[in-house]
């Protein structure tokens, strides 16, 4: 990749769930550099270890062995408090399950994060970015599954994180809404230079990436740059 120092330098990342006979190796020695401000798309069959990888990079889970360097920090050396500060200041998440707080409105779910961020957007602004400006005061149960996911995306981008980690963010969305969400992610990546790692099943989406990673069986099977990065609006699926 580029010659500038990478945002992440990942070496021999291994994750084994369980012990003994029932142990499952979810990651088996992943080596990777993620350049700053890159848009990275992760592809791969279900169970290939994508989510596990993203969770460890996001400081949500502990690796079994290997190293994750984030700028000057080695994440794998951080304790619980260190990881908390890392997530708090640098990472935005969009989860596979929307994980909204049921007793908070859309606006409040976003405010939950802007509250503790350094230079956040207004929650309304973030929600407008995902096309939910008219749904600010609705509770999660009053929103469709797709709308809930868009609230989750607004929540992730609202704090202008250094890195945005999205685990299948468009899985539950129709293509029109999906494009809007991806446009929002693309815009944040271009304008704010937010490094974005995006897991998807949809190979077409890889066209919007600077870099495409393909996981298979807990290993990085393929890692190649995408020379012709496209705007999500120009993609078809």
């Amino acid at each position: 990749m580029a010659s500038a120092p990478p945002l992440y330098r990942i070496e021999g990342l291994t994750k084994i769930y369980g012990e003994g006979d029932t142990a499952i190796a979810a990651l088996r020695g992943v080596n990777l550099d993620v350049p700053k401000s890159a848009m990275v798309v992760l592809l791969g069959p279900s169970g290939s270890g994508k989510s596990t990888f993203l969770n460890i990079v996001g400081g949500l889970d502990q690796a079994t062995s290997g190293h994750v360097h984030f700028e000057d920090v080695e994440l794998t050396n951080l304790d619980d408090n260190g990881l908390t500060e890392y997530r708090r200041h640098h990472v935005g998440f969009v989860f596979q399950f929307y994980n909204l707080v049921a007793s908070l409105t859309a606006r409040e779910n976003v405010a939950l994060i802007t509250e503790i961020a350094d230079e956040p957007m207004e929650p309304a602004e973030a929600l407008a970015l995902v096309g939910l400006e008219s749904r600010l005061d609705h509770f999660p149960t009053q929103l469709s599954g797709g709308e809930q996911q868009r609230v989750a995306i607004a929540r992730a981008i609202a704090k202008r994180p250094k890195v945005l980690l999205c685990d299948e963010p468009t899985g539950a969305l129709d293509s029109q809404t999906g494009v809007r969400v991806l446009e929002a992610l693309d815009q944040v990546n271009r304008e704010l230079g937010t490094t974005t790692l995006l897991i998807t099943h949809n190979a077409v989406i890889a066209e919007m990436a600077d870099h495409v990673l393909r996981f298979a069986d807990g290993q990085l099977a393929d890692s190649r740059p995408n020379p012709k990065r496209r705007r999500p609006g120009d993609m078809k699926w």
């Binding site: 889970d61 200041h89 990472v91 399950f97 049921a102 939950l112 503790i116 599954g145």
Partner: protein
């Protein structure tokens, strides 16, 4: 939008949980209310007594004599440590009051010519002080005047020292020495048949032939004085004048009862309320832990977004505190109100001229802090448990249960079980510890209920022992002075009397190795029928051939056990001094602390067997004739009726205890409802998703209800036996702990109380079931499909 989103979540969560919050508030209110009520009542009674004694200068030492010159008082006042001394005349008399057929036992005290008594000062409640120039004018104790329907200006006939006198009541009064006013040998006040009169010293002295003399000195001590030294000196001085051993305030009968009752109350408040608060706190802790466990995904999310541990802890602490505050406030308000009410009610029982209510910020703070500590500790534990997971683990739905265990296999093998029942059993076994805690909560609540409601049984048992087994004489009479058998023969010929048994109380000072007490000895005869010594367990105890049977309380006080020698110093008659062995230590429901065989003690005292009174079996049809006879018989100093004492006891103790029991029972019923309701609500919250999924799959409402209510029923039923066992032992322990120096509370828990308690639990479960059932009918099926993929 000034509130942070987490604080909004606090408010919304509280609103969502409002009905559960209400149940939690009830449980906390019960625990806190019980503590505030009991301690408040306790302190108020203590403070009231102290203030009364202090303001009305209750004597520190009482020094009775037969007849001593007044000039001796100055000499006695010079004893180091004595700050104030006053001589007075005290006498027993019987009254004949219009409208009451039986003679009324009274004590008469003199009022000094100088005006009002300076020691044991009187509180004038109505009317005026007697005119020193009118010998017939007297003050009467207020409760007696009311109970005997004596109005100001009414005349009563007194049989005083064998002479009939007409007295006129011109005022009513209270005295610190009659806070608990009972006749000689009695245990419970009977205000209609025992009264106190105060009359001008000159006239009382003339009637008793004690002019310029006194037969009782009242002494107030300096703060630094040593009472035993002063008593020893007083005894020395008064020995020549028929002094029968001075005694300290602690041995004065009214104070003794008051102290004893307060000690019992203190024990009770030391045992039950903390257990209440403990159980309430335990239940709240359990409820909160489960609530927080159910929020594990939110905690995981907050962790994922970089919320610090402290902020997460604070969020749940706020919810917990907000859930506790209504309960605390309600408990404090309710407890204070009831505490004051109860303290006031004790005025039925203890006569104080005023009530100093004390509850105090410290009690409120103590109860609140104890509650909040347990609550916050529960929050801390539960949040930490979730925080020990990684955010990913915390956000995931809980791991599917491990059904590999042996019991689970057994459930799978039981073919005849239908699927819903399997779900119930697996649900319970999946979290055996939590299920056990749920049952334990029911057990604790039931146990408290049984204990609270069981106090009435204990009182009923006590009344049974006292009046059906121990004291079976219809009438007890006391003599002005001990008499020989001829007095008994005379009584046997009195109208309506079909049986006479002697009563003997010997004035004596009993000493163990270190301590002594002027408690006297009670003589008993083997084979008595009208008055028997009955153990706390209901067994009849015969007097010992040798030695003294010592009551449990006295044995503790004088540090005596079977075989130890007691130094007996007789303070009447020929005043012998000898040693007797402790024949045994007995637990009797009530009664004088030391029993001896009547014939044995007479031999040791070198006198013919004497009686201080008699127990009479009387033909009820002729009881009025007997009363007429007794009124005319000068040797009779007091007349006591079993039926009246029984009614008095039932009305006073029964009522007071009844109210306390009612309050305690109410508080424990609150806990019962709170526990069961909370159990059900949390199960509902934890299971709502699964149950809705079953509904989606085509299960009927009734089948889904069956799953949840079946679990509730099993956990409740499983708690019942443990609750009964807990209640049984707690109530036994409580009654054993209440044993005082004057009486011991027997243990009389009845099957019907237990049955009622179980019924209350079942009722609570039924009401909860109806409520939960309604909730289940409105499960949101779509929400399940939407938020979970």
């Amino acid at each position: 939008m000034s509130l942070s989103p987490l604080d909004r979540k606090v408010l919304r969560d509280l609103w969502r949980m409002r009905s559960q919050a209400f149940a939690i508030a009830l449980v906390i209110a019960a625990g806190v209310g019980m503590v505030v009520m009991s301690l408040g009542m306790m302190r108020s009674l203590d403070a009231t007594r102290d203030a009364y004694y202090d303001r009305y200068r209750f004597a520190d030492i009482f020094a009775p004599a037969k007849r001593a010159r007044k000039s001796l008082l100055a000499e006695m006042g010079d004893i180091p440590g004595v700050s104030q001394i006053e001589g007075r005349i005290t006498a027993g008399a019987t009254l004949d009051v219009a409208g009451i057929s039986e003679p009324i036992t009274t004590r008469i005290h003199s009022i000094p010519a100088s005006g009002e008594p300076r020691i044991n000062a009187l509180v004038l409640r109505s009317g005026r002080w007697p005119d020193p120039n009118r010998p017939e004018e007297v003050l009467a104790s207020e409760k007696f005047a009311t109970a005997a329907r004596i109005s100001l200006g009414d005349s009563v006939d007194a049989l005083l020292y064998g002479k009939r006198q007409q007295l006129r009541v011109v005022g009513t009064a209270l005295s610190p020495e009659y806070v608990y006013a009972i006749g000689p040998g009695q245990l419970f006040p009977d205000n209609r048949r025992f009264g106190v009169l105060w009359m001008g010293e000159e006239h009382l002295a003339a009637a008793l032939d004690l002019t310029d003399s006194f037969n009782e000195a009242l002494i107030r001590l300096d703060r630094a004085a040593v009472p035993d030294d002063v008593i020893a000196k007083l005894d020395n001085m008064l020995a020549r004048y028929g002094g029968v051993s001075a005694y300290p305030r602690a041995e004065q009968i009214s104070d003794r009862f008051v102290t004893n009752e307060l000690a019992q109350l203190r024990t009770m408040t030391g045992i039950l309320p903390p257990i209440f608060l403990g159980v309430a706190a335990f239940l709240i802790n359990m409820v909160l832990s489960r609530l927080i466990d159910a929020e594990h995904d939110v905690i995981g999310l907050l962790m994922a977004f970089g919320y610090r541990g402290k902020a997460i802890m604070l969020h749940y602490a706020k919810i917990a505190v907000a859930l506790s505050i209504p309960g605390l406030a309600l408990g404090i308000a309710l407890g204070s109100w009831m505490g004051r009410g109860l303290a006031g009610m004790y005025q039925e029982f203890f006569v104080f001229p005023f009530l100093t209510y004390r509850a105090g910020a410290d009690i409120y703070a103590l109860a609140s802090l104890a509650t909040l500590f347990v609550v916050l500790f529960g929050v801390f534990q539960s949040v930490r448990r979730v925080r020990r997971m990684t955010p990913v683990e915390a956000m995931r739905p809980p791991l599917p249960p491990n059904y590999a265990g042996g019991v689970a296999k057994l459930i799978s093998r039981l073919r005849w079980l239908d699927e819903p029942t399997r779900i119930i059993l697996r649900g319970i076994l999946r979290r055996p510890f939590r299920s056990a805690l749920g049952s334990l909560g029911v057990a604790a609540a039931l146990g408290l209920y049984i204990t609270s409601a069981g106090s009435s049984d204990n009182v009923a048992q006590m009344i049974d022992i006292l009046f059906d087994q121990a004291n079976r004489a219809d009438v007890m009479v006391t003599f002005a002075e001990p008499r020989d058998e001829r007095a008994l023969f005379a009584l046997a010929r009195a109208p309506g009397v079909w049986r006479v048994e002697p009563m003997r109380a010997v004035g004596a000072k009993l000493s163990g190795a270190r301590k002594s007490k002027s408690d006297g000895l009670t003589g008993a005869t083997a084979g008595s029928d009208l008055n028997r010594l009955v153990g706390i367990d209901g067994a009849i105890i015969e007097p010992p051939a040798r030695g003294v049977l010592v009551s449990y309380g006295l044995a503790n006080e004088l540090d005596l056990s079977a075989g130890d020698p007691i130094d007996v110093q007789i303070t009447e008659g020929r005043r012998g001094r000898f040693e007797l062995p402790v024949a045994g230590v007995i637990k009797s429901a009530v009664g004088s602390p030391a029993y001896v065989d009547m014939a044995m003690i007479a031999r040791r005292m070198n006198e013919a067997p004497l009686a201080s009174g008699a127990y009479l079996g009387v033909d009820p049809a002729r009881i009025d004739d007997l009363f007429r006879y007794l009124k005319a018989t000068p040797i009779i100093a007091g007349v006591f009726l079993r039926s009246a004492s029984r009614t008095g006891l039932e009305e006073t103790i029964g009522e007071t205890m009844g109210i306390v029991t009612l309050f305690n029972t109410g508080f424990s019923a609150l806990i019962v409802f709170g526990v069961i309701y909370n159990n059900a609500r949390i199960s509902l919250a934890e299971r709502a998703r699964d149950l809705a999924s079953l509904r989606v799959l085509g299960y009927r409402r009734s089948e889904v209800s069956y799953i949840l209510l079946g679990e509730l029923a099993i956990l409740t039923l499983a708690g019942l036996p443990f609750g009964i066992i807990f209640g049984y032992y707690l109530s036994q322990w409580l009654s054993a702990s209440l044993g005082g120096d004057l009486f011991i509370i027997p243990f009389g828990l009845s099957a019907s109380t237990v049955a009622w308690a179980v019924l209350i639990v079942l009722l609570a479960a039924l009401l909860t079931a109806l409520f939960v059932r309604r909730r289940l009918d409105s499960l949101d099926l779509v929400a399940v499909l939407k938020t979970w993929d």
